[in-house]
Amino acid sequence: MSLHRILVLMGRDLSICPRSPIILWLFAMPLLITFFFQVVFTNLFDSEPVLGIYTSQESVIADSLIACDGIRVISAEETELAEMVENGAVDAGLILRDSFEDSVRSGARPELQYLISPEGSPAGSAVILLLVLDELRSLENRKTPLEIIVISPDEKQDLPLSERIVPSTVLVVMIICGVFIPAFMLVDEREKGTLAAVLVTPVTTGEALLSKGLLGFCLAMPITVFTLVLNGLSGFDMIALLVCFAVGTAVCNCIGLIYGTVARSAKSLYTMVKSLNIILVAPAMFYIFSGWPGWVAKLFPTYWFMDPAYRVIMHNAHLPDVLGSLAVALATVILLGFVVVFLGRRMQNRLTEA
């Protein structure tokens, strides 16, 4: 096994990446997937809380909130506002009826209709609520008339769909890139006959396969981290997460090499990816649809790195908390490594017998 030859092979593959439409597509995929999920599940590009307001007449509170920095205010009709709150177009909705501000000024305690979106950001709605309370205090010139209780969600079923989907998005990107890059590069070389040309040089089959696997690792890792950044995830043990990603990418690379050694052509690889990748990304569905029985997810090999990553991102777990699952994932890498060696030999025979 020569490191020099592996690096030469990887260098060539890296140099042609910008000329390969498939690889370019994989680089663009985090943007596209993030865009898609943001559009579907959240408000695209909304980094600041969004408040929808209905006022039946001129309102001092509404004017003050509109002038506030750090939040965006959308005026809407009452029925329209209810819909916006429901579908997550705004984080919260405020309904100010005719007599509300006069009642507050007169010292009465009128009912405030403040609607929190189930699909919006809890942090956003809390920020907006504080601002509303501040405006009420100004209007009334006395202490806050409401008691605020902030409940920090720590169970995944308590998290809104828009938050549960983000780590799943990152992990799905990792699986697709980690599997597809080595598989595609291998099948492409086999189909064009260039692998046969490489294998009559001092390069061994093992070196050729390892170079494709490492290439997949070196490309899938940054793409995954980029997706993480793109989705604005932060505030967790980054080292633990990178370890989860590294182990997960290694599992995916081995699966990719298995695909690449088994598939006879790019066409059969696409068919394989389309039909089998659903099995690989299946555990992500258990986080999106939290009502599904969790034990079923454990049957999938990708669960053992997806679950640790999910726990680090969503529940701020640390490396010692997830070592057990990662050990299972590492054992999977070793097992899959043996399968790759066996299939690599078979592939070499098929390559020359063709």
């Binding site: 030469v8 060539r12 040309a197 001092p202």
Partner: protein, 285 residues
């Protein structure tokens, strides 16, 4: 000093139940070109695949450069060059990039491919992508790639297949040049003229067996018939006569015809390798 660079003894190889190579034996010396001639499916390419380590020999012994052949042996593979029948170049890279990449696989750091590109007349298109090359240019690059490590043994599988005469000639010149430098060349081809022109010895292979192995001249002497074809004008018509030069009365017959007033042309003909192949194997190419 190794006398035989390639030494194959009683080599057998089977694809599942089909025996593609059935006990062939031959040697190739340093600087020698051995032409492997045979029809499709004769076992030529399979033999090359075994000798280049792509397939493991079923039985028999194979040694390259004095070393017993093993699959995935970097030591032997660093000293051989292979030109495939299929044009398996990296089309999205330039000729220069292709050669530099392969030189890197042979551990040649800082390799400059210009001299080799000049030799195959590709220096002016060295930075163009291979996808824009003509068939002849690609084939020349294939040969250059096979020679990038200045190999001791060169395996050429149908190197001029489907090329125009000009491209074929330039490739033949390259092969001869490489052999003159001391490289042992194993050449497979359907083209008998090419084999005749290039090969020091030729092996006729059919159905996995070598039927005969000798120099082209010896084969022609042994199996061929020398003839003279004479055209004579007589009573306003042209008559053609064929005289076997191997017969005892050939001299008298020729003398008589030369003295004939109506003599138009005399052409001597010798048997081609193709004729001999058909005669020996009982089938054409």
């Amino acid at each position: 000093m190794i006398s035989s660079v390639i030494d194959v003894r009683d080599l057998h190889f089977s694809y599942c139940d089909v025996e593609a190579v059935r006990g062939i034996t031959f040697t190739v010396s340093r600087g020698e070109i051995l032409g492997f001639l045979g029809p499709n499916g004769a076992g030529k390419s399979t033999t090359i695949k075994v000798l280049t380590g792509q397939l493991s020999p079923g039985s028999g012994s194979v040694s390259i450069l004095g070393k017993a052949l093993a699959r995935d042996d970097p030591e032997i593979q660093s000293r051989i060059g292979v030109c495939f029948e299929e044009k398996n170049l990296y089309n999205n890279m330039s000729a220069r990039e292709n050669l530099k990449f392969f030189a890197g696989l042979f551990g040649m750091k800082g390799y400059n491919p210009d001299a080799l590109l000049r030799r195959v007349s590709l220096i002016e298109k060295a930075d163009d992508r291979v996808s824009g090359y003509s068939k002849g240019m690609r084939q020349r690059l294939m040969i250059a790639r096979a020679m990038v490590n200045d190999p001791d043994v060169l395996f050429l599988d149908e190197p001029t297949e489907g090329l125009d005469p000009v491209s074929s000639r330039s490739i033949r010149e390259l092969i001869l040049e490489q052999a003159q430098k001391g490289t042992a060349v194993l050449l497979t081809t359907h083209n008998m003229r090419e084999a005749d022109e290039l090969s020091d010895r030729v092996a006729f292979i059919c159905e996995g067996r070598i039927h005969v192995l000798d120099t082209p001249d010896n084969l022609k002497l042994k199996y061929g018939h020398r003839t003279a074809r004479v055209k004579i004008s007589e009573d306003g018509t042209v008559r053609q006569e064929t005289i076997s030069l191997d017969k005892s009365d050939a001299g008298d017959k020729l003398k008589k015809l030369v003295e004939h007033e109506g003599l138009l042309t005399i052409h001597t003909e010798e048997a081609t390798l193709e004729d001999i192949f058909i005669r020996i194997t009982g089938r054409g190419l």
